[in-house]
């Protein structure tokens, strides 16, 4: 932690003590945790909070200052002094953010003060999907919801579906308890940002519940396979901090990063070497490296790997990888040697863009880590910290569920945007009898809702969340310290009122009652609130030794434990008709699209193309030249399931034949900044799933691309390559 941030926290915590020492002032009588009305004009107070923009769950601190707004009271405009949040920074005490924060996290402010926030509960007045709503009162809205819910519950509570986001914490726990009280099935998350593949692979290979923690900071040679860990995968701030240390944080020791990925991602850009892999060939690449490691006798821990797997690796035909990946054996060998000879090698595997065989790829990578003997060691793969709060929603393919559901709750999920149109999600949502959305905004799915019961913004809420990746058991805490701007209501409270109305025995999970047990000795609740979280003491790297599962054992209803499967990915679409791979990827600025309504993010130059206010389709120069496409031209991308139109960006580092596009734009409804802006690459995907987890295979659709007209890509800056000869575009 650096000095300045330390002061921030300390001064927050001890305002009273300091001013109390100054004798003459009356301030000493003012309570410590000042209510918003006590904020001195022009002075700042820093308060801890939690970032809810993605599942990483960073602890943040926010700068609270007085501001003035004009509100209407009884028809008269009244000036009102309110506490406002001016800035968000990372909480220096938080082990995930460490006092730093990504662009999206900092832009959360614009969610709070977004002009398109819902001001209060709304009920549908028009047809479903048309987004015509009228204001209603909370009492009425809850009464209606309770009645409808009671109706469904009485018939068949299994026809209630609660779709949520991937975050674990008090919200998830409250929802779980509510559903239990209802007798409804547990909540389900089916978003693209939950990393089900990575979770499943860790479970299958190591028996770990949760995302493995890669100790990048202490590694010396890192091979990244398919995981854009600096650009939004799992926990971007956490890994970016480690990356800084990995590169230049150690005296005379610079970590080397080789990234094998099917796209020039942020991570690939930062890497010392990028190995462009055709989509879905990660598994063959990893297997080839494993084979070469064994061949070169560089594997340190073959004993930790099931015999069958070692045999499979040994039997692997490298030429298969050479052919599929387009990487020469010489190069693969050099990589294997670099990895094997490094003192602290690490393979970071994931599926930023899910393929049908992504699970196999991550599993293979885990075996590779086992071969390298780095599991549970500094600079290696560490087990996930236990989650202090239960109730993490399970991942499931919710399509079938939605089919037979009558009552749907939406909280942190936007299926109308994130599920491909080919799944018929629109019709399915339309068919649902009652749909209740808790989103603070009217989003794509909210358009189908019968009731919009807007939640507070995360920065107005009281919540405890569990970070997706944390080096120690961690809970990030946020307590309400600015009054909600509008007539919104915390979803916990709404569920409580629903339960009350329906006479269910239900108690919402609050941070205080849930965390009482998680507090370590000598820690008080007040202290936890002031610090913005509860974190177990660091250390304990060796605490939990991984126990790789034996091949072939069965476990419950689960699939067979991971024998080495090295299948080719499957792609949907006829090669002759649809010659290109389509590669939609979560964007740095919008994630899976949920930050698209933040104007700062819309205007943040895209890291690839520098595009603002609309994301382009990325195509390689060869194919672009063949098709007569130039940067800025309007192109049509067509799959067997739909088509989209967007400006093109000729990307000098795009893999020939792979058409990439960042996810985030193309919302039907999402406020003035995102509605009908750009195109949604998810919408044209084929309904193809990774078979074991049910995760949407983002990269399994084939497309064709045609130039429509010349157009304009709004770019902030241009790269040196985009200039034509003699510097004219």
């Amino acid at each position: 932690m650096d000095r300045r941030n330390f002061f921030k926290i300390v001064s927050t915590a001890s305002t009273g003590v300091l001013t109390g020492a100054c004798g003459k002032k009356l301030d000493r009588y003012v309570p410590l945790l000042v209510a918003e009305r006590e904020i001195v004009p022009g002075e700042e107070v820093w308060r801890p909070a939690a970032c809810g923009e993605c599942g990483a769950g960073c602890g943040v601190i926010v700068r609270v200052m007085e501001a003035e707004r004009v509100v209407e009271r009884q028809g008269d405009p009244v000036r009102e002094r309110i506490a406002t949040i001016k800035k968000i920074e990372g909480n220096p005490l938080d082990p995930v953010s460490g006092g730093r924060l990504c662009a999206r996290g900092q832009a959360a402010l614009q969610g709070l003060y977004n002009p398109d926030r819902l001001r209060g509960p709304l009920r549908r007045v028009g047809p479903k999907g048309k987004a015509e709503f009228a204001p209603t009162s909370w009492a009425e809205a809850i009464a209606v919801a309770a009645e409808k819910l009671e109706h469904v519950r009485a018939k068949d509570p299994s026809r209630i579906l609660f779709l949520t986001g991937p975050q674990a914490g008090t919200r998830a726990l409250t929802i779980a308890r509510f559903l239990e009280a209802l007798g409804a099935p547990p909540a389900v998350t089916f978003e693209i940002s939950d990393f089900p593949i990575e979770r499943k692979a860790a479970d299958l290979v190591f028996g770990w519940k949760g995302l493995p923690v890669y100790d990048l900071a202490n590694a010396r040679y890192v091979l990244g396979v398919g995981a854009d860990f600096l650009g939004g995968w799992a926990s971007p701030v956490f890994y970016a901090r480690q990356f800084g240390h990995f590169r230049q944080g150690r005296a005379d020791l610079r970590g080397r990063l080789t990234q094998a990925e099917s796209r020039m991602s942020i991570t690939a850009q930062a890497a010392d070497l990028w190995i462009p892999l055709p989509p879905g060939t990660e598994v063959l690449f990893t297997a080839a490296i494993a084979h070469l490691l064994l061949r070169e006798k560089l594997a340190r821990g073959p004993n930790g790997v099931p015999q069958q797997v070692v045999q499979a690796f040994e039997a692997f035909d490298v030429t298969r990888a050479v052919r599929a990946c387009g990487v020469e054996e010489r190069r693969l060998l050099r990589l294997a040697r670099e990895l094997g000879e490094s003192e602290r090698p690490l393979v970071m595997a994931g599926a930023s863009v899910v393929q049908t065989n992504s699970l196999e790829s991550v599993i293979t990578a885990h075996y590779l880590n086992l071969l390298l003997g780095n599991v549970g060691k500094p600079g290696g793969v560490l087990p996930p910290a236990p989650e202090p709060i239960g109730g993490r929603p399970g991942f499931a393919n919710a399509l079938a569920l939605l089919e037979r559901t009558q009552f749907v709750f939406l909280d942190g999920a936007n299926p109308a945007y994130t599920w491909p149109a080919s799944t018929g999600v629109a019709q399915k949502l339309e068919r649902v009898e009652t749909l209740v959305s808790f989103a603070p905004f009217l989003d794509d799915s909210g358009a189908y809702a019968d009731l919009l019961l807007p939640d507070h913004h995360m920065l107005e809420a009281t919540a405890a969340i569990v970070p997706a990746v944390a080096p120690v058991a961690a809970v990030t805490l946020a307590t309400q310290f600015v009054e909600p701007l509008y007539e919104t209501r915390a979803t916990e409270q709404v569920l409580t009122e629903l339960a009350k109305k329906m006479e269910l025995t239900f108690e919402p999970a609050t941070p205080k009652n849930v965390l009482a047990s998680a507090l370590t000795e000598g820690q008080t609740w007040e202290e936890a609130v002031r610090q913005g979280g509860v974190w177990a003491a660091a250390g304990g790297v060796e605490a939990e030794q991984p126990k790789p599962r034996k091949t072939g054992t069965r476990r419950g209803e689960g699939p067979t434990a991971p024998a080495l499967e090295l299948s080719a990915p499957s792609f949907f679409g006829d090669t002759s008709q649809f010659p290109y791979y389509f590669h939609p990827y979560p964007s740095l600025q919008f994630g899976d699209g949920r930050a698209a309504n933040l104007p700062w993010m819309q205007e943040l130059p895209d890291p690839v193309s520098s595009a603002m206010w609309g994301l382009p389709v990325e195509i390689d120069p060869q194919n672009a030249a063949r098709l007569g496409i130039r940067t800025g031209d309007l192109v049509r991308v067509e799959s067997a399931h739909g088509r989209l139109e967007a400006p093109a960006y000729v990307h000098p580092a795009a893999i020939p034949g792979v058409i990439s596009m960042a996810i985030g734009d193309g919302h039907r409804h999402f406020g003035r900044y995102a509605s009908n802006r750009g195109a949604n690459p998810l919408s044209i995907l084929a309904p193809v799933w990774e078979k074991s987890t049910g995760a949407l295979a983002l990269g399994a659709t084939r497309v064709r691309i045609t130039r429509l007209a010349s157009g304009r890509l709004i770019q902030f800056s241009v790269s040196d390559r985009e200039q034509g000869p003699w510097g004219y575009r």
Partner: protein, 228 residues
């Protein structure tokens, strides 16, 4: 001795995540243009990430570097301003005084780094977005130039706090918003007049270079080149 503020940016740590860009927007009340204006090249980012490609696919590399006002000691923008709206202050900051600016935009032409931005219109925010405004930073009126200030409001605040506590400003105590946000800690800010400060040590390390150094503008932002 007076301070002489400077910055070091480690390109080996930087990965182009643009957290600094967002931080700058939040701290400095940067106007958000609309798409139409952005298309006309009026978007404002006091700090940006430039991209350069090296080689051809598949042996292609992307280099990127955050570019902000380099706070040049021999700043080309300073002598050309007819009204002293931009000048060098005793702490080595290249200051833009919005009150004094008449909007000739000569400084913008003469900036080799193209980091100066002009307010083509009176900036507007849709309510209630303006509640986020940092009261420590001016809302620039239309018709004036603006640019990165090294977060002078933070410098002043820290100096004020240090004075109140009767102590010198500690190294690393002043952190412009971009530096503060950087997840990889690629950016270091400090006093170049203090030979012991972290930024001084980085600036004199073998990896330090300056952007367009050959122009002799003597920028105070040092780029530490990527290692091997």
């Amino acid at each position: 001795m007076a301070h002489r503020w400077g910055m070091a940016i480690d390109l080996d740590r930087c990965m182009g995540c643009e957290a600094c860009v967002a931080a700058c927007h939040a701290e400095n009340n940067l106007p958000v243009s609309d798409p139409a204006q952005a298309a006309k090249g009026r978007a404002v980012h006091w700090i940006r990430v430039d991209r350069y490609y090296e080689g051809e696919f598949p042996e292609i590399r992307v280099k990127y570097m955050p570019v902000l006002c380099q706070q040049c000691d021999e700043a080309p923008c300073e002598p050309v301003c007819p009204v002293y709206a931009t000048y060098h202050n005793p702490e080595g900051l290249n200051v833009q005084v919005y009150n004094r600016c008449v909007g000739t935009r000569y400084c913008g032409n003469n900036c080799p780094y193209s980091v100066r931005f002009f307010n083509w219109f009176e900036p507007k925010w849709t309510a209630p977005l303006e509640l986020q405004h940092n009261p420590d930073v001016a809302i620039r009126p239309g018709g004036v130039m603006e640019k990165c200030t090294f977060c002078v409001q933070r410098i002043e605040r820290v100096k004020l706090d240090a004075k109140a506590e009767n102590r010198p400003v500690a190294d690393g105590e002043v952190q412009p918003a971009c530096v503060q946000s950087c997840p990889a800690e690629a950016m270091v800010f400090g006093d170049l007049n203090d030979p012991e400060s972290k930024v001084s040590r980085l600036a004199s390390s073998g990896r330090a270079t300056r952007l367009l150094e050959e122009l002799g503008a003597k920028p105070k932002v040092f780029y530490l080149q990527r290692g091997k």
